[in-house]
């Protein structure tokens, strides 16, 4: 027997700290600050919280100890979750399942990271963690950070399908246009395609503007039942669909994981639960650690045939006023980098209709994708201001 979960739970609270390159406190401090903001946003009291799910970022310095730090004393549900950048989605999935099963009423999901502590923005991401055995081979060849893996993946797509820098650049430019309308975005200076081409190389084929920025900060949200959410302070962001996909790249002949994401697996589960098709989607909030990630994600949700994501993003299609608004807060490229909480937080804002200058008028169906590893892990959420798709 299966129960359709669609519309049974909702996101009722959202807390976003300042997003900055500056020091704004320890990771624990910003995590608790975001939790407090989310509780206040929902109109709940601290004692109403009976579930806590924690996701640490690259600094990896929050875990289940956050329960004591924040002083939660009657939790019925708790865990530290880790599926890399896709974890934000998984936390909401498991929170919703637990609520529907009667194991908890109000579950806080939190992500916090403070990798910027002086020095280069990417320093925390480029560190050599291990030189022993096979793990030492990457640094020996000069493979550093996520930039390398994603740049090589993008090259494979470019060589296979003829994807161009103009097409990758169109994504960077679109993100910046959205970010100009988002007071919280960290990069809001207007950017042209020429500016994109002129930005320095990080690792060819990636320019600086192909790559995410890095942020200190935290995001927390509260999942509760649809019924409870209706009695709270904010318009509920109903969870209509949930799905995951984890392809597991074997790195050998016959597999093209560099050009295919877990969205191909997750989409069917999430779209099936929500009872929607692509034509129902009004807004996309995608994990966009690189321009290329947006391109390949659009393909894998079926908005463009495989190999045609580049042509799809041109001519303003995903920009403000375009036919398919994508990453309406500026995404990770121009907004802020809170791993999966970047697309998820903006998805909640759009579903609530609280996007201000950047609010997409028709926002009945918001597709959120969260992505981890090198296209290894994927989580999908479909959010809506309505408890039903009908």
């Amino acid at each position: 027997m299966t129960t359709n979960m669609s519309g049974k739970t909702a996101i009722a609270g959202l807390g976003i700290t300042e997003m900055t390159r500056e020091y704004i406190g320890t990771t624990e401090q910003v995590a608790v600050q975001a939790i407090r903001m989310a509780i206040e946003d929902a109109g709940l009291a601290k004692d109403d919280i009976d579930g806590l799910l924690v996701n640490a970022g690259v600094t990896n310095d929050i875990s289940i100890g956050l329960q004591k730090t924040a002083g939660f004393r009657n939790l019925r549900l708790m865990n530290h979750m880790n599926a890399a950048g896709s974890t934000a989605g998984q936390m909401v999935h498991y929170a919703a399942l637990a609520i529907e099963a009667g194991m908890a009423n109000a579950v806080v999901c939190v992500f916090a990271d403070t990798p910027l502590r002086g020095g280069s923005a990417g320093a925390a991401y480029g560190q050599i963690r291990n030189t022993r055995g096979m793990a030492g081979m990457g640094p020996a060849y000069g493979f550093f950070g996520a930039n390398t893996g994603y740049a090589l993946a993008a090259r494979r797509h470019m060589a296979t399908y003829g994807t161009t820098h103009d097409q990758l650049g169109a994504i960077a430019v679109s993100n910046r246009k959205w970010a100009e309308k988002n007071p919280r975005a960290m990069q809001r200076k207007p950017m042209t395609l020429e500016d994109y081409h002129n930005s320095r190389w990080i690792i060819e084929p990636f320019h600086l503007f192909d790559c995410t920025l890095v942020s200190n900060g935290a995001v927390a949200l509260i999942v509760t039942s649809a019924e409870r959410a209706r009695s709270l302070k904010q318009p509920p962001a109903y969870i209509l669909g949930m799905g995951q996909g984890h392809p597991g790249n074997p790195g050998r002949a016959g597999f093209e994981n560099e050009m295919n994401t877990g969205a191909q697996i997750a989409r069917g589960t999430a779209f099936g639960m929500a009872g929607i098709d692509n034509s129902d989607v009004d807004v996309c909030e995608f994990y966009d650690c690189y321009t290329y990630t947006t391109l390949v994600t659009l393909e894998d949700y079926g908005f463009a045939p495989k190999g045609e994501g580049g042509a799809f993003v041109q001519n303003g299609r995903i920009e403000p006023g375009g036919e398919l608004p994508v990453n309406t807060g500026g995404g990770q490229l121009s907004g802020y980098y809170m791993w999966g909480m970047t697309p998820l937080s903006e998805g909640i804002i759009q579903a609530r209709g609280q996007g201000g200058d950047r609010q997409v008028e028709k926002h009945d169906c918001v597709l959120v994708s969260m992505q981890g590893g090198l296209l290894d892990f994927h989580a999908t959420l479909i959010l809506s201001p309505h408890a039903s798709n009908n």
């Binding site: 055995g133 060849y141 190389w201 690792i203």
Partner: protein, 139 residues
Amino acid sequence: MTTAAQTQPKPVPEPDESSQEFFDGAKRGELMLSQCNECKAWLHPAAPVCTECMGNDLGWAKASGRGTVFTFGVMHQFYHPGFTHELPYNVAIVELEEGPRLNSNLVNIANEEIKVGMPVKATFVDQGGGVFIPKFEPA
């Protein structure tokens, strides 16, 4: 011209129990890869168990060293002082005839000449301290 940066060594992998055969082979000029004795799957990088049949009877076999460039990039960003004087340098994934893909560098070719799909063959380079690693050159 010698600069301070040029005297900085690159990171040298430390052979361990699970990778000793690979590094011993590289020193001999042979590309040794882990292989499952049960189902014959090639396993690179060397794994603790077979990723296909989940068995743990693993051995080593010599690969041809021939393959093609699966994808590549050209690194401009400074991460480690051992690479300062080589910036920009290439990083590549090579798909071997036998199927496994290896992270590596391409040598004896200008970065501008590298193409996805081009045939390459292994050559072995001293990374420092007598630890050799496979790199690839045009075949």
